[in-house]
C-alpha cells in the first residue's frame, strides 16, 4: 500500500515537473523593466508556425525588432516582445496575457488568429490590435493584408520562363481564400508567359506537416515537374528537404523550389555545395508592414477599423533579391516588365479561381 502511494506521488512529481517547465518562461518576463509605462510598447502573438518558421512569423518579428531597436526599446515588458502559440487554443490566451502586460499595440500574426483577435478586441475595446493576413472589422483593430497574387504572378513568370518540362507544381497549405490568391496569381503568371505549361495544384491540408510536403514534392518531381511553388508555411520545409535530397543524389538534376513569404535562398542550400535549389522567392514584406504600422501608431495615426493593403506598389510584396543567383538576366528583365504593367494597372492579376478563368480566357 505504501509503495502504491509512493508511485502515485512519483507520477504527480512527473506531472508537476512538466507544469513547472511550462511556467519557467512566463515567470521571468514581468520582472523586467517596470515603471517605464510612458514609452510606447508593442508585442505580437505568433500562430502555430512559431517565431522562426522561416516565414511570416519570423518576418513580422524582424520588423518588430527593427522598430524596437530604432526606437531604443528593450525586449520584454514595456518594450517589444512576442508570445509563441503552441496550438490554436493558445491564441486568445496569449493575446490576453499581452493585454494584461499593458502593451500599447498588439499584433496577431496570421489568418488563423482572426477569431481570437475579434474576440479579444471585443472584450478590450480600449486596447489597440492589429492583424496580419486577415481583416477584422472592429474600430480598435487595424488589418494588414497583402496583394500576394501580385507577387505570386511575378514568380509565376519566372517559373513559366525557367521550366524545361513545361510542368510546374503548386503546393498549398490549406484550401482557404488566402492561399487561393497565391494559386490564382501564380497560375496567371505562368500562363501569361508560357501558355504551354501546365500547373498541377495540390493541397497538403496543413501548414505544419513537413512530412506531407515532402511526400507531395516527391510525387511531383517524380512525375516530371521541375519547378514547385509552395505556399504552405512549415509544410514547405518538406518540399525543400525533398528537393535538396534529390539534388544531392544527382547534382545535375534540374529541379527548383520557389520560396514564399520571405527569401528562402538559405533554406534551399544544398549542403556541401554553394548551390541552392531555391529559384526565387515571393517575399511578403510583413516586416515592412509591421514596422510601418507600429511607426504610424506610435505617431498617433493608428488606422483602426481600416484594412491596409500592401502590394507591389507599396513594396509590400515582390521577388527576393537572391533571384539573380539562379535566374538569367533576360528573365529578370521580363519580370520587371510585368511588374511595371501590374503597377500601372495594365494587368489585373486574378485573386480567385473564377477570376483566373476569366484571365485565361482573355489571353
Amino acid at each position: 500500500m505504501k509503495k502504491k502511494r509512493f508511485g502515485l506521488s512519483m507520477s504527480l512529481l512527473l506531472t508537476a515537473g512538466m507544469l513547472l517547465g511550462g511556467c519557467g518562461q512566463a515567470k521571468e518576463e514581468p520582472k523586467k523593466e517596470e515603471g517605464k509605462a510612458s514609452e510606447f510598447s508593442v508585442a505580437m502573438v505568433t500562430d502555430v508556425g512559431g517565431i522562426d518558421d522561416k516565414s511570416f512569423n519570423q518576418s513580422a518579428w524582424e520588423g518588430l525588432q527593427k522598430f524596437g531597436e530604432e526606437n531604443g526599446l528593450k525586449k520584454g515588458k514595456g518594450g517589444y516582445d512576442y508570445l509563441q502559440s503552441q496550438s490554436d487554443a493558445d491564441y486568445a490566451t496569449n493575446l490576453n496575457k499581452l493585454v494584461r502586460n499593458d502593451f500599447d499595440l498588439i499584433f496577431g500574426i496570421g489568418f488563423l488568429m482572426t477569431d481570437a483577435v475579434t474576440e479579444i478586441a471585443d472584450q478590450k475595446p480600449d486596447n489597440k490590435f492589429a492583424i496580419v493576413d486577415s481583416v477584422v472589422e472592429k474600430p480598435n483593430v487595424a488589418s494588414i493584408t497583402f496583394k500576394e497574387h501580385e507577387g505570386s504572378f511575378l514568380v509565376g513568370v519566372v517559373a513559366g520562363l525557367m521550366t524545361k518540362t513545361n510542368k510546374i507544381g503548386f503546393v498549398g497549405g490549406m484550401e482557404i481564400p488566402l492561399i487561393e490568391k497565391f494559386e490564382s496569381g501564380f497560375r496567371a503568371g505562368v500562363k501569361a508567359v508560357n501558355p504551354n505549361a501546365t500547373v498541377e495544384v495540390q493541397y497538403a491540408g496543413a501548414f505544419d506537416k513537413a512530412d506531407k510536403g515532402k511526400a507531395i514534392a516527391s510525387s511531383m518531381y517524380a512525375s516530371g515537374i521541375d519547378v514547385i511553388y509552395h505556399a504552405a508555411g512549415a509544410t514547405g520545409n518538406g518540399v525543400f528537404s525533398e528537393a535538396i535530397d534529390l539534388k544531392k543524389q544527382d547534382p545535375n538534376k534540374e529541379i527548383w523550389v520557389i520560396g514564399v513569404d520571405r527569401d528562402q535562398y538559405e533554406e534551399g542550400k544544398v549542403p556541401g555545395t554553394d548551390k541552392s535549389v531555391t529559384l526565387t522567392s515571393m517575399v511578403k514584406r510583413v516586416d515592412v508592414a509591421v514596422y510601418d504600422l507600429a511607426t504610424k501608431t506610435k505617431n498617433g495615426n493608428f488606422p483602426g477599423g481600416q484594412a491596409v493593403e500592401y502590394g507591389l506598389k507599396e513594396d509590400g510584396v515582390g521577388i527576393a533579391p537572391t533571384t539573380k543567383n539562379n535566374v538569367p538576366e533576360d528573365v529578370l528583365k521580363k519580370v520587371d516588365e510585368w511588374k511595371q504593367k501590374i503597377i500601372n494597372g495594365e494587368v489585373k492579376v486574378p485573386t480567385t479561381r473564377d477570376e483566373y478563368k476569366q484571365f485565361e480566357a482573355s489571353l
Binding site: M18, G50, I51, D52, G205, S218
Partner: protein, 317 residues
C-alpha cells in the same frame, strides 16, 4: 500504373520507417506486460536529441553525424524511458498514467531546453541528413528495382530488416520466450526462476531505445528541425500500428507500412487519373477511414498479452 507505384511505394516506406521503429519498441514493452503510452514522448526525446546532436557535432563528424545522432538519441530515450520503468514496474503505478506523464514531460522538457539553448522556439535546420540512395545491385532489377530499391533512405530499409530481427528475438530465442512468458503469466515465469522485474526493465528500455531511433530519423529526414510540431501523433500511430499488428513484430511492420501506404495514397492520389476528380478532403481523410475499416472489418480479435497493464507482485495470487 507502374509509374504510379514507383511514386507511392517509396513514399509509403519512407512514411512508415519511423512508425516501424517505434511500433517495434512498443512490441517489446507490451509483450513483457508493460503498457507504453509514452511512445510519443520517447519519440519527442529522440527527435530532440537527434537534432541537437546533429547541430552541435556536424562539423566534427561530417557524414557520420546522422548515424551517431541516431545512436545518441537511442541511448538518451532509453534512459528517459527508465522513468516509466521505475514508476510502472518497481513502484507499481498505473502504467497508463505514467505513460501519459512521460508524454507531457518529454514535450515540456525538450521545448524548455530548446528555448534555453537556442533562445527561440525551434532549432535551426540540420545540415547533414541521410542521403537518398539507390541500392547498388537491387535497384537494377527490372520492375521491382525502381519500385522498392530506388530513391530510398537507408534507415527505412534498416527498419524493415529490424522487424525480422525482432521477430527472431521474440519468437526464436530463450530471451524472447522469457519476455513473452513474463507478459502472459508472470507468476509462472517467476516460479521458473525468471526475474520478472529485470525482464520488464529491459523491455521498457528497449522500447525507449527504438522509439528514440524512430523520433530521430523522423526529425532528420522529414522535418530537419525540432519544434513543438515535429512529433505530432506519430507515437500514437505507432501504438495503433502495434495493436493493429496484434503485438507481433511483423504484424506491426505490416500495419505501419499500411499506414504509410494510405498516407502516400492520400497525397499521390491527386495525381492518379481515376482519383483525380475526388475532392482533396476525401483523400486526406482516407488513411484514417481505411484504418478504421481495416481494424473493424478484417483483422478480427486482437489478443493482448494476458498480464498487460498489471504490475507483478511477488507471491500475490
Amino acid at each position: 500504373m507502374l509509374n504510379i507505384l514507383e511514386i507511392i511505394i517509396p513514399s509509403a516506406i519512407f512514411f512508415a520507417a519511423p512508425l516501424i521503429f517505434t511500433a517495434l519498441g512498443g512490441v517489446f514493452s507490451e509483450r513483457s506486460g508493460v503498457v507504453n503510452i509514452g511512445l510519443e514522448g520517447l519519440m519527442v526525446i529522440g527527435a530532440f536529441t537527434g537534432v541537437v546532436f546533429n547541430l552541435t557535432f556536424a562539423d566534427q563528424f561530417g557524414q557520420l553525424t546522422p548515424w551517431l545522432a541516431m545512436l545518441v538519441a537511442m541511448v538518451v530515450a532509453s534512459i528517459f524511458s527508465l522513468m516509466h520503468a521505475v514508476a510502472a514496474i518497481s513502484l507499481r503505478a498505473d502504467q497508463v498514467v505514467s505513460g501519459v506523464a512521460i508524454n507531457f514531460l518529454a514535450l515540456g522538457l525538450s521545448l524548455f531546453l530548446v528555448k534555453m539553448w537556442y533562445g527561440k522556439g525551434q532549432t535551426d535546420q540540420v545540415q547533414v541528413g541521410f542521403d537518398k540512395i539507390d541500392i547498388p545491385i537491387l535497384s537494377k532489377i527490372p520492375v521491382i528495382g525502381p519500385i522498392l530499391f530506388s530513391n530510398g533512405y537507408l534507415p527505412s530499409y534498416l527498419a524493415i530488416v529490424l522487424a525480422f530481427v525482432v521477430w527472431y528475438v521474440i519468437y526464436k530465442t530463450p530471451f524472447g520466450l522469457r519476455l513473452r512468458a513474463v507478459g502472459e503469466h508472470p507468476m509462472a515465469a517467476d516460479t521458473m526462476g525468471i526475474n520478472v522485474a529485470k525482464m520488464r526493465y529491459i523491455a521498457v528500455m528497449l522500447s525507449g531505445a527504438l522509439a528514440g531511433i524512430g523520433g530521430s530519423i523522423y526529425a532528420t529526414i522529414i522535418s530537419r528541425d525540432f519544434s513543438h510540431a515535429t512529433i505530432s501523433g506519430q507515437g500514437f500511430m505507432a501504438l495503433a500500428a502495434m495493436i493493429f499488428g496484434k503485438w507481433h513484430p511483423l504484424g506491426a511492420m505490416g500495419a505501419a507500412l499500411f499506414f504509410g501506404f494510405a498516407q502516400s495514397l492520400s497525397i499521390v492520389g491527386q495525381a492518379i487519373p481515376f482519383l483525380k476528380n475526388v475532392p482533396t478532403v476525401y483523400l486526406l481523410i482516407l488513411p484514417y477511414a481505411l484504418t478504421i475499416l481495416a481494424l473493424t472489418g478484417f483483422i478480427g480479435r486482437a489478443d493482448a498479452p494476458k498480464a498487460l497493464g498489471t504490475p507483478y507482485v511477488k507471491g500475490k495470487r
